[in-house]
Amino acid sequence: MTKVTDMAEAVSSAIEDGQSIYLGGFTHLIPFAAGHEIIRQGYSDLTLVRATPDLIYDQMIAAGCASSVTFSWAGNPGVGSLRAFRRAIEDGVPTELDIDEYSHFGLVSRLAAGAQDLPFLPLRTFVGSDYPEHNDNIQFVENPFGDMPGEIPVVPPLNPDVAVVRGQRADTEGSAHLWGIVGEMVEAAFAADTVILSVEELVDTEVIRSDPNRTLIPQTVVDHVVEEPYGSHPSYAQGYYDRDNEAYLAWDRRTETHESTEEWLEEWVYGVDDRTEYLEKLEVERFLDLQPQTSYGTPVDMGEY
Protein backbone atom coordinates (compact mmCIF):
# COMPACT_ATOMS: atom_id res chain seq x y z
CA MET A 1 0.00 0.00 0.00
CA THR A 2 1.63 3.22 -1.10
CA LYS A 3 2.14 6.03 1.39
CA VAL A 4 3.51 8.45 -1.15
CA THR A 5 2.35 12.03 -0.96
CA ASP A 6 3.87 15.48 -1.29
CA MET A 7 5.47 17.42 1.55
CA ALA A 8 2.67 19.97 1.89
CA GLU A 9 0.14 17.19 2.33
CA ALA A 10 2.39 15.12 4.63
CA VAL A 11 3.06 18.08 6.92
CA SER A 12 -0.53 19.27 7.09
CA SER A 13 -1.91 15.83 7.86
CA ALA A 14 0.81 14.87 10.36
CA ILE A 15 1.47 18.02 12.39
CA GLU A 16 -0.66 20.15 14.67
CA ASP A 17 0.16 23.33 16.57
CA GLY A 18 1.57 22.67 20.02
CA GLN A 19 3.07 19.28 19.18
CA SER A 20 6.60 18.05 19.72
CA ILE A 21 8.40 17.60 16.42
CA TYR A 22 11.70 15.98 15.62
CA LEU A 23 13.41 16.80 12.33
CA GLY A 24 16.25 14.32 11.91
CA GLY A 25 19.80 13.95 10.81
CA PHE A 26 23.12 14.61 12.47
CA THR A 27 24.64 17.23 10.14
CA HIS A 28 23.74 14.76 7.36
CA LEU A 29 20.31 14.32 5.69
CA ILE A 30 18.62 17.21 7.48
CA PRO A 31 15.02 17.62 6.21
CA PHE A 32 15.22 21.29 5.25
CA ALA A 33 12.36 20.97 2.76
CA ALA A 34 10.07 19.77 5.55
CA GLY A 35 11.20 22.58 7.84
CA HIS A 36 10.42 25.17 5.20
CA GLU A 37 7.01 23.67 4.57
CA ILE A 38 6.25 23.81 8.29
CA ILE A 39 7.19 27.49 8.27
CA ARG A 40 5.05 28.16 5.22
CA GLN A 41 2.04 26.49 6.79
CA GLY A 42 2.38 28.84 9.74
CA TYR A 43 2.68 26.41 12.63
CA SER A 44 3.21 27.76 16.11
CA ASP A 45 3.88 26.62 19.66
CA LEU A 46 5.91 23.63 18.50
CA THR A 47 8.45 21.89 20.71
CA LEU A 48 11.43 21.27 18.47
CA VAL A 49 13.55 18.22 19.29
CA ARG A 50 16.99 17.72 17.77
CA ALA A 51 20.50 17.03 19.05
CA THR A 52 21.82 19.90 16.92
CA PRO A 53 19.19 22.57 16.12
CA ASP A 54 21.34 23.61 13.15
CA LEU A 55 20.06 26.12 10.59
CA ILE A 56 16.78 24.31 10.20
CA TYR A 57 15.57 25.10 13.73
CA ASP A 58 17.16 28.53 13.64
CA GLN A 59 14.92 29.23 10.65
CA MET A 60 11.81 27.80 12.33
CA ILE A 61 12.54 29.75 15.52
CA ALA A 62 13.00 32.97 13.56
CA ALA A 63 9.68 32.29 11.82
CA GLY A 64 7.94 32.01 15.19
CA CYS A 65 7.02 28.32 14.93
CA ALA A 66 8.60 27.24 18.22
CA SER A 67 7.91 27.72 21.91
CA SER A 68 10.45 25.23 23.15
CA VAL A 69 13.62 23.46 22.01
CA THR A 70 14.96 20.14 23.28
CA PHE A 71 18.60 19.89 22.22
CA SER A 72 22.20 19.13 23.07
CA TRP A 73 24.35 21.41 20.90
CA ALA A 74 23.05 24.64 19.43
CA GLY A 75 25.56 26.02 16.98
CA ASN A 76 26.08 26.61 13.28
CA PRO A 77 28.39 23.61 12.65
CA GLY A 78 31.83 24.73 11.63
CA VAL A 79 30.69 28.36 11.42
CA GLY A 80 29.61 29.84 14.75
CA SER A 81 26.45 30.36 16.72
CA LEU A 82 22.79 30.24 15.85
CA ARG A 83 21.73 33.84 15.99
CA ALA A 84 17.96 33.36 15.87
CA PHE A 85 18.11 30.73 18.60
CA ARG A 86 20.20 33.07 20.73
CA ARG A 87 17.92 36.05 20.10
CA ALA A 88 14.93 34.04 21.25
CA ILE A 89 16.66 32.87 24.42
CA GLU A 90 18.57 36.00 25.28
CA ASP A 91 16.00 38.62 24.18
CA GLY A 92 12.70 36.79 23.60
CA VAL A 93 12.69 37.73 19.89
CA PRO A 94 10.44 36.90 18.08
CA THR A 95 9.04 34.78 20.96
CA GLU A 96 10.23 33.46 24.29
CA LEU A 97 11.80 30.03 24.01
CA ASP A 98 11.92 27.35 26.69
CA ILE A 99 14.83 25.01 26.56
CA ASP A 100 15.22 21.40 27.65
CA GLU A 101 18.90 20.64 27.43
CA TYR A 102 21.08 17.52 27.47
CA SER A 103 24.42 16.28 26.28
CA HIS A 104 24.32 14.38 22.97
CA PHE A 105 24.26 10.97 24.62
CA GLY A 106 21.65 12.16 27.12
CA LEU A 107 19.30 13.23 24.35
CA VAL A 108 19.97 10.20 22.18
CA SER A 109 19.40 7.93 25.19
CA ARG A 110 16.02 9.57 25.78
CA LEU A 111 15.01 8.78 22.19
CA ALA A 112 16.35 5.23 22.53
CA ALA A 113 14.27 4.73 25.69
CA GLY A 114 11.28 6.08 23.78
CA ALA A 115 11.96 3.71 20.89
CA GLN A 116 11.97 0.73 23.25
CA ASP A 117 9.12 1.68 25.58
CA LEU A 118 11.48 1.76 28.56
CA PRO A 119 10.78 3.97 31.60
CA PHE A 120 14.42 5.08 31.53
CA LEU A 121 17.90 4.30 30.26
CA PRO A 122 21.08 4.58 32.36
CA LEU A 123 24.20 6.37 31.13
CA ARG A 124 27.60 7.40 32.48
CA THR A 125 27.15 11.10 31.80
CA PHE A 126 26.13 14.11 33.93
CA VAL A 127 27.95 13.03 37.12
CA GLY A 128 30.00 15.98 38.35
CA SER A 129 28.28 18.40 35.96
CA ASP A 130 25.63 21.06 36.67
CA TYR A 131 22.98 19.47 34.46
CA PRO A 132 21.14 17.48 37.15
CA GLU A 133 20.61 20.70 39.12
CA HIS A 134 18.74 22.28 36.24
CA ASN A 135 16.93 19.34 34.68
CA ASP A 136 14.48 17.05 36.51
CA ASN A 137 14.69 14.59 33.65
CA ILE A 138 18.09 13.57 34.95
CA GLN A 139 17.65 11.35 37.98
CA PHE A 140 19.87 8.85 39.75
CA VAL A 141 19.02 5.25 40.56
CA GLU A 142 20.85 2.85 42.79
CA ASN A 143 22.84 0.03 41.26
CA PRO A 144 21.41 -3.18 42.75
CA PHE A 145 24.48 -5.16 41.70
CA GLY A 146 27.18 -3.37 43.67
CA ASP A 147 28.97 -0.12 44.16
CA MET A 148 30.99 0.36 40.98
CA PRO A 149 29.20 2.73 40.51
CA GLY A 150 26.81 2.80 43.47
CA GLU A 151 24.32 4.86 41.51
CA ILE A 152 23.93 5.95 37.94
CA PRO A 153 22.12 8.75 36.08
CA VAL A 154 19.02 7.79 34.13
CA VAL A 155 16.90 9.70 31.63
CA PRO A 156 13.24 9.10 30.74
CA PRO A 157 11.86 8.24 27.29
CA LEU A 158 11.25 10.95 24.72
CA ASN A 159 8.47 10.22 22.23
CA PRO A 160 7.97 13.08 19.76
CA ASP A 161 4.50 13.43 18.28
CA VAL A 162 5.99 13.60 14.81
CA ALA A 163 9.40 12.75 13.37
CA VAL A 164 10.59 13.72 9.92
CA VAL A 165 13.51 11.59 8.80
CA ARG A 166 15.30 11.30 5.51
CA GLY A 167 17.01 8.46 3.70
CA GLN A 168 18.68 8.10 0.37
CA ARG A 169 16.13 5.68 -1.10
CA ALA A 170 12.90 3.95 -0.13
CA ASP A 171 10.03 2.02 -1.61
CA THR A 172 6.52 3.46 -1.72
CA GLU A 173 5.54 1.76 1.53
CA GLY A 174 8.35 3.50 3.37
CA SER A 175 11.16 1.01 3.92
CA ALA A 176 14.32 3.05 3.51
CA HIS A 177 18.01 2.48 2.91
CA LEU A 178 20.26 4.91 4.78
CA TRP A 179 24.03 5.14 4.62
CA GLY A 180 26.74 7.48 5.75
CA ILE A 181 26.16 9.21 9.08
CA VAL A 182 22.91 7.99 10.59
CA GLY A 183 22.97 9.94 13.84
CA GLU A 184 19.91 9.32 15.99
CA MET A 185 17.36 9.06 13.18
CA VAL A 186 16.51 5.41 13.73
CA GLU A 187 15.83 5.93 17.43
CA ALA A 188 13.68 8.97 16.69
CA ALA A 189 11.69 7.21 13.98
CA PHE A 190 10.90 4.33 16.33
CA ALA A 191 10.13 6.70 19.21
CA ALA A 192 7.74 9.04 17.37
CA ASP A 193 3.99 8.52 17.06
CA THR A 194 3.86 9.64 13.43
CA VAL A 195 6.72 9.50 10.94
CA ILE A 196 7.21 11.38 7.68
CA LEU A 197 9.93 9.77 5.59
CA SER A 198 11.47 11.90 2.86
CA VAL A 199 13.97 10.43 0.41
CA GLU A 200 16.20 11.40 -2.44
CA GLU A 201 14.56 8.79 -4.64
CA LEU A 202 11.81 6.21 -4.65
CA VAL A 203 12.95 2.78 -5.81
CA ASP A 204 11.39 -0.62 -6.41
CA THR A 205 10.80 -2.76 -3.36
CA GLU A 206 13.27 -5.25 -4.86
CA VAL A 207 16.09 -2.73 -4.43
CA ILE A 208 15.31 -2.40 -0.73
CA ARG A 209 14.89 -6.14 -0.22
CA SER A 210 18.11 -6.91 -2.08
CA ASP A 211 19.99 -5.63 0.98
CA PRO A 212 17.76 -5.91 4.06
CA ASN A 213 20.57 -5.12 6.55
CA ARG A 214 20.61 -1.61 5.05
CA THR A 215 16.92 -0.98 5.78
CA LEU A 216 17.33 1.10 8.92
CA ILE A 217 13.87 2.70 8.70
CA PRO A 218 11.21 0.02 8.08
CA GLN A 219 7.76 0.71 6.73
CA THR A 220 6.12 -0.32 9.98
CA VAL A 221 7.14 2.98 11.59
CA VAL A 222 6.44 5.18 8.55
CA ASP A 223 3.16 7.01 7.88
CA HIS A 224 3.94 9.28 4.94
CA VAL A 225 6.53 8.95 2.17
CA VAL A 226 7.75 11.97 0.21
CA GLU A 227 10.17 11.82 -2.71
CA GLU A 228 12.13 15.04 -2.63
CA PRO A 229 15.49 15.20 -4.43
CA TYR A 230 17.82 17.70 -2.78
CA GLY A 231 15.41 17.84 0.14
CA SER A 232 18.36 18.21 2.49
CA HIS A 233 20.05 21.16 0.83
CA PRO A 234 22.07 23.02 2.20
CA SER A 235 23.01 19.98 4.33
CA TYR A 236 23.98 16.92 2.34
CA ALA A 237 23.04 13.40 1.27
CA GLN A 238 25.94 10.96 1.21
CA GLY A 239 26.63 9.90 -2.37
CA TYR A 240 24.12 12.42 -3.79
CA TYR A 241 25.45 15.88 -2.95
CA ASP A 242 27.79 17.71 -0.61
CA ARG A 243 27.03 20.25 2.07
CA ASP A 244 26.60 23.70 0.58
CA ASN A 245 28.95 25.47 2.94
CA GLU A 246 28.34 28.81 1.25
CA ALA A 247 24.75 28.65 2.48
CA TYR A 248 25.87 27.97 6.06
CA LEU A 249 28.19 30.98 5.92
CA ALA A 250 25.47 33.10 4.31
CA TRP A 251 23.02 32.21 7.06
CA ASP A 252 25.48 33.54 9.60
CA ARG A 253 25.65 36.87 7.75
CA ARG A 254 21.98 37.13 6.84
CA THR A 255 20.77 36.58 10.41
CA GLU A 256 22.60 39.41 12.11
CA THR A 257 19.30 41.09 12.93
CA HIS A 258 15.81 39.69 13.22
CA GLU A 259 14.77 41.91 10.33
CA SER A 260 17.46 40.65 7.98
CA THR A 261 16.53 37.13 9.00
CA GLU A 262 12.93 37.80 8.04
CA GLU A 263 14.12 39.00 4.66
CA TRP A 264 15.90 35.71 4.16
CA LEU A 265 12.76 33.79 5.09
CA GLU A 266 10.73 35.94 2.72
CA GLU A 267 13.10 35.21 -0.10
CA TRP A 268 13.81 31.51 0.40
CA VAL A 269 10.77 30.15 2.24
CA TYR A 270 7.63 32.29 1.95
CA GLY A 271 8.62 33.44 -1.51
CA VAL A 272 8.59 29.93 -2.98
CA ASP A 273 5.75 27.43 -3.17
CA ASP A 274 7.70 24.26 -2.63
CA ARG A 275 11.11 22.66 -2.84
CA THR A 276 11.12 22.67 -6.63
CA GLU A 277 10.80 26.44 -6.69
CA TYR A 278 13.50 26.66 -4.02
CA LEU A 279 15.84 24.60 -6.17
CA GLU A 280 15.06 26.71 -9.19
CA LYS A 281 16.40 29.71 -7.29
CA LEU A 282 19.79 28.05 -6.84
CA GLU A 283 22.36 28.62 -9.52
CA VAL A 284 23.13 25.59 -11.60
CA GLU A 285 26.84 25.92 -10.91
CA ARG A 286 26.17 25.45 -7.26
CA PHE A 287 24.48 22.11 -8.02
CA LEU A 288 27.40 21.02 -10.12
CA ASP A 289 29.90 21.98 -7.42
CA LEU A 290 28.08 19.82 -4.89
CA GLN A 291 28.22 16.61 -6.95
CA PRO A 292 30.63 14.00 -5.59
CA GLN A 293 32.35 11.53 -7.84
CA THR A 294 30.74 8.11 -7.87
CA SER A 295 32.24 5.64 -5.41
CA TYR A 296 30.29 2.41 -5.07
CA GLY A 297 30.48 0.13 -2.08
CA THR A 298 31.42 -3.48 -2.83
CA PRO A 299 28.04 -5.24 -2.95
CA VAL A 300 27.15 -8.21 -0.78
CA ASP A 301 25.84 -11.53 -1.99
CA MET A 302 22.71 -12.44 -0.02
CA GLY A 303 22.35 -15.69 -1.91
CA GLU A 304 19.15 -17.11 -3.35
CA TYR A 305 18.29 -20.12 -1.20
Binding site: E90, H104, S109, V127, D130, I181, G183
Partner: protein
Protein backbone atom coordinates in the same frame (compact mmCIF):
# COMPACT_ATOMS: atom_id res chain seq x y z
CA UNK B 1 64.05 29.56 13.47
CA UNK B 2 60.78 28.85 11.71
CA UNK B 3 58.17 31.53 11.80
CA UNK B 4 54.82 30.38 13.21
CA UNK B 5 51.53 31.66 14.54
CA UNK B 6 49.98 31.03 17.98
CA UNK B 7 47.47 28.70 16.38
CA UNK B 8 50.20 26.72 14.65
CA UNK B 9 52.02 26.30 17.95
CA UNK B 10 48.84 25.09 19.64
CA UNK B 11 48.34 22.58 16.82
CA UNK B 12 51.86 21.19 16.98
CA UNK B 13 51.85 21.08 20.77
CA UNK B 14 48.53 19.23 20.80
CA UNK B 15 49.80 16.80 18.17
CA UNK B 16 52.69 15.89 20.45
CA UNK B 17 50.23 14.77 23.12
CA UNK B 18 49.08 11.93 20.86
CA UNK B 19 50.62 8.48 20.70
CA UNK B 20 50.68 6.13 17.78
CA UNK B 21 48.25 3.59 19.23
CA UNK B 22 45.78 6.17 20.53
CA UNK B 23 42.18 6.34 19.53
CA UNK B 24 41.03 9.91 19.70
CA UNK B 25 37.69 11.65 19.61
CA UNK B 26 38.20 14.61 17.36
CA UNK B 27 36.43 17.91 16.90
CA UNK B 28 36.79 20.13 13.83
CA UNK B 29 39.28 22.95 13.77
CA UNK B 30 42.47 22.79 15.81
CA UNK B 31 41.95 19.27 17.22
CA UNK B 32 41.34 17.93 13.74
CA UNK B 33 44.51 19.59 12.45
CA UNK B 34 46.50 18.35 15.45
CA UNK B 35 45.34 14.77 14.91
CA UNK B 36 46.04 14.84 11.20
CA UNK B 37 49.45 16.33 11.88
CA UNK B 38 50.25 13.58 14.38
CA UNK B 39 49.04 10.97 11.89
CA UNK B 40 51.37 12.33 9.22
CA UNK B 41 54.34 12.49 11.54
CA UNK B 42 54.89 10.31 14.60
CA UNK B 43 51.48 8.57 14.94
CA UNK B 44 50.51 7.02 11.59
CA UNK B 45 48.17 4.50 13.26
CA UNK B 46 46.25 7.09 15.23
CA UNK B 47 42.55 6.28 14.98
CA UNK B 48 40.24 9.28 14.62
CA UNK B 49 36.66 8.92 15.79
CA UNK B 50 34.05 11.66 15.45
CA UNK B 51 31.00 12.09 17.62
CA UNK B 52 28.90 11.79 14.49
CA UNK B 53 29.80 8.08 14.58
CA UNK B 54 32.51 7.80 11.93
CA UNK B 55 35.26 5.44 13.08
CA UNK B 56 38.86 5.77 11.85
CA UNK B 57 37.99 8.46 9.36
CA UNK B 58 40.38 9.07 6.52
CA UNK B 59 39.35 12.50 5.21
CA UNK B 60 40.50 13.39 1.69
CA UNK B 61 40.26 17.08 2.59
CA UNK B 62 39.67 19.27 5.63
CA UNK B 63 36.22 18.51 7.09
CA UNK B 64 33.99 21.54 7.57
CA UNK B 65 31.99 19.98 10.37
CA UNK B 66 32.14 16.82 12.46
CA UNK B 67 29.49 15.38 10.18
CA UNK B 68 31.22 16.16 6.88
CA UNK B 69 30.88 13.50 4.13
CA UNK B 70 34.67 13.24 3.80
CA UNK B 71 34.67 11.71 7.28
CA UNK B 72 32.23 9.01 6.13
CA UNK B 73 33.64 8.04 2.73
CA UNK B 74 36.61 5.69 3.25
CA UNK B 75 36.04 5.38 7.02
CA UNK B 76 36.60 2.03 8.67
CA UNK B 77 33.12 1.96 10.15
CA UNK B 78 30.12 4.22 10.71
CA UNK B 79 27.80 3.65 13.65
CA UNK B 80 24.63 5.29 14.95
CA UNK B 81 25.19 7.86 17.71
CA UNK B 82 23.68 5.56 20.35
CA UNK B 83 26.43 3.07 19.54
CA UNK B 84 29.25 5.57 19.07
CA UNK B 85 28.58 7.06 22.47
CA UNK B 86 27.67 3.76 24.14
CA UNK B 87 29.90 1.07 22.65
CA UNK B 88 32.93 3.28 22.00
CA UNK B 89 33.05 6.29 24.29
CA UNK B 90 31.21 5.07 27.38
CA UNK B 91 32.84 1.66 27.08
CA UNK B 92 36.26 3.28 27.45
CA UNK B 93 37.45 2.62 23.91
CA UNK B 94 38.51 6.23 23.31
CA UNK B 95 41.93 7.16 24.73
CA UNK B 96 42.03 10.89 24.11
CA UNK B 97 39.34 13.51 23.83
CA UNK B 98 39.74 17.15 22.85
CA UNK B 99 37.74 19.84 24.59
CA UNK B 100 37.41 23.58 24.35
CA UNK B 101 35.21 25.93 26.26
CA UNK B 102 34.34 29.46 27.21
CA UNK B 103 35.51 29.03 30.81
CA UNK B 104 37.89 26.64 32.54
CA UNK B 105 38.59 26.63 36.26
CA UNK B 106 41.64 25.51 38.22
CA UNK B 107 40.35 21.93 38.42
CA UNK B 108 39.77 21.68 34.70
CA UNK B 109 35.98 21.94 34.92
CA UNK B 110 34.71 23.41 31.68
CA UNK B 111 31.77 25.62 30.83
CA UNK B 112 30.50 25.65 27.26
CA UNK B 113 26.87 26.30 28.16
CA UNK B 114 26.14 29.86 29.37
CA UNK B 115 27.79 33.03 30.54
CA UNK B 116 25.78 34.33 33.47
CA UNK B 117 22.80 32.66 35.05
CA UNK B 118 21.61 29.43 33.45
CA UNK B 119 17.94 30.41 33.65
CA UNK B 120 18.59 33.95 32.39
CA UNK B 121 21.86 33.88 30.47
CA UNK B 122 23.91 36.84 29.40
CA UNK B 123 25.37 34.79 26.58
CA UNK B 124 23.89 31.52 25.47
CA UNK B 125 26.66 29.18 24.23
CA UNK B 126 26.13 26.04 22.13
CA UNK B 127 26.08 23.65 25.10
CA UNK B 128 27.63 20.25 25.65
CA UNK B 129 27.20 18.34 22.45
CA UNK B 130 29.31 15.32 23.30
CA UNK B 131 31.65 17.28 25.58
CA UNK B 132 30.16 16.13 28.88
CA UNK B 133 30.54 12.47 27.92
CA UNK B 134 33.98 13.02 26.40
CA UNK B 135 35.10 14.61 29.67
CA UNK B 136 33.53 11.75 31.64
CA UNK B 137 34.56 8.72 29.62
CA UNK B 138 37.84 9.14 27.75
CA UNK B 139 41.11 8.12 29.41
CA UNK B 140 42.54 11.62 29.10
CA UNK B 141 41.37 14.93 27.75
CA UNK B 142 43.32 17.75 26.20
CA UNK B 143 41.85 21.22 26.55
CA UNK B 144 42.68 23.79 23.90
CA UNK B 145 41.69 27.42 24.36
CA UNK B 146 42.95 31.00 24.08
CA UNK B 147 44.40 32.25 27.35
CA UNK B 148 42.56 35.20 28.92
CA UNK B 149 41.33 36.10 32.43
CA UNK B 150 37.75 35.80 31.22
CA UNK B 151 38.34 32.26 30.06
CA UNK B 152 40.20 31.19 33.21
CA UNK B 153 37.95 32.41 36.03
CA UNK B 154 38.07 31.44 39.71
CA UNK B 155 34.78 29.63 39.18
CA UNK B 156 32.93 28.66 36.01
CA UNK B 157 29.29 29.77 35.58
CA UNK B 158 28.15 26.26 34.70
CA UNK B 159 29.96 22.93 34.74
CA UNK B 160 29.27 21.44 31.32
CA UNK B 161 32.16 18.97 31.42
CA UNK B 162 33.58 17.77 34.72
CA UNK B 163 37.31 17.99 35.34
CA UNK B 164 38.70 17.23 38.79
CA UNK B 165 35.52 18.65 40.40
CA UNK B 166 36.58 20.45 43.59
CA UNK B 167 39.99 18.85 44.00
CA UNK B 168 38.69 16.75 46.88
CA UNK B 169 36.06 14.43 45.51
CA UNK B 170 37.95 12.07 43.22
CA UNK B 171 36.74 11.20 39.76
CA UNK B 172 37.08 7.55 40.62
CA UNK B 173 34.62 7.89 43.52
CA UNK B 174 32.13 9.40 41.10
CA UNK B 175 32.63 6.68 38.52
CA UNK B 176 34.36 9.01 36.07
CA UNK B 177 37.19 7.74 33.91
CA UNK B 178 40.41 9.63 33.11
CA UNK B 179 40.44 13.38 33.45
CA UNK B 180 42.12 16.47 31.99
CA UNK B 181 45.72 15.85 31.10
CA UNK B 182 46.87 19.10 29.54
CA UNK B 183 45.57 22.58 28.87
CA UNK B 184 47.15 24.09 25.76
CA UNK B 185 46.67 27.82 25.25
CA UNK B 186 48.27 30.52 23.13
CA UNK B 187 50.55 31.32 26.08
CA UNK B 188 51.41 28.10 27.85
CA UNK B 189 50.85 24.45 28.60
CA UNK B 190 49.31 23.56 31.98
CA UNK B 191 48.99 20.16 33.57
CA UNK B 192 47.35 18.84 36.75
CA UNK B 193 48.83 17.73 40.07
CA UNK B 194 47.71 14.80 42.21
CA UNK B 195 44.91 16.86 43.74
CA UNK B 196 43.67 17.75 40.30
CA UNK B 197 44.81 21.35 40.43
CA UNK B 198 46.22 22.99 37.32
CA UNK B 199 49.89 24.02 37.28
CA UNK B 200 52.05 25.76 34.73
CA UNK B 201 54.20 23.23 32.93
CA UNK B 202 55.72 25.20 30.05
CA UNK B 203 55.48 28.72 28.66
CA UNK B 204 55.57 29.45 24.97
CA UNK B 205 58.60 31.16 23.44
CA UNK B 206 58.36 34.91 24.00
CA UNK B 207 55.77 34.63 26.79
CA UNK B 208 56.68 35.42 30.40
CA UNK B 209 55.42 33.51 33.41
CA UNK B 210 53.93 36.76 34.66
CA UNK B 211 51.93 37.17 31.49
CA UNK B 212 50.47 33.69 32.02
CA UNK B 213 49.53 34.50 35.62
CA UNK B 214 48.10 37.83 34.46
CA UNK B 215 45.79 36.00 32.05
CA UNK B 216 44.62 33.52 34.70
CA UNK B 217 41.84 34.31 37.17
CA UNK B 218 43.40 32.63 40.20
CA UNK B 219 46.84 32.16 41.70
CA UNK B 220 48.19 29.69 39.22
CA UNK B 221 50.55 27.07 40.63
CA UNK B 222 53.93 26.87 38.94
CA UNK B 223 55.48 23.48 38.27
CA UNK B 224 58.83 22.74 39.92
CA UNK B 225 60.50 23.09 36.58
CA UNK B 226 58.68 25.36 34.19
CA UNK B 227 60.29 24.96 30.80
CA UNK B 228 59.99 26.62 27.45
CA UNK B 229 57.40 25.05 25.10
CA UNK B 230 58.95 23.33 22.12
CA UNK B 231 58.12 25.44 19.04
CA UNK B 232 56.92 23.92 15.75
CA UNK B 233 59.64 22.67 13.40
CA UNK B 234 59.85 23.29 9.70
CA UNK B 235 58.29 19.98 8.68
CA UNK B 236 55.27 20.60 10.88
CA UNK B 237 54.72 24.10 9.58
CA UNK B 238 55.09 22.87 6.04
CA UNK B 239 52.49 20.15 6.57
CA UNK B 240 50.02 22.53 8.19
CA UNK B 241 50.34 25.24 5.57
CA UNK B 242 50.64 23.17 2.45
CA UNK B 243 48.72 19.99 3.14
CA UNK B 244 46.41 20.13 6.13
CA UNK B 245 44.94 23.59 5.85
CA UNK B 246 46.17 25.07 2.56
CA UNK B 247 43.32 27.61 2.50
CA UNK B 248 44.07 28.70 6.04
CA UNK B 249 40.49 28.02 7.16
CA UNK B 250 41.54 27.46 10.76
CA UNK B 251 45.10 28.77 10.81
CA UNK B 252 44.65 32.27 9.45
Amino acid sequence: MTDYTDTELMITRAAQELQNDDTTLVGVGIPNLACNLAKQTHAPDLEMVYESGTIDSNPSKLPLSIGDPVLATDAQSIVPMIQGFGYYLQAGRIDVGFLGGAQIDRYGNINSTVIGDYEDPKVRLPGSGGACEIASNTHRTIIITPHTQRRFPEEVDFVTSPGYIDGETTREELGLRGGPDAVITDKAVMRFDDDGEMFLDSVHPGVTEDAVQEATGWNLQFGSDVVKTEPPDEEEIDLIRNELDPDGVYTK
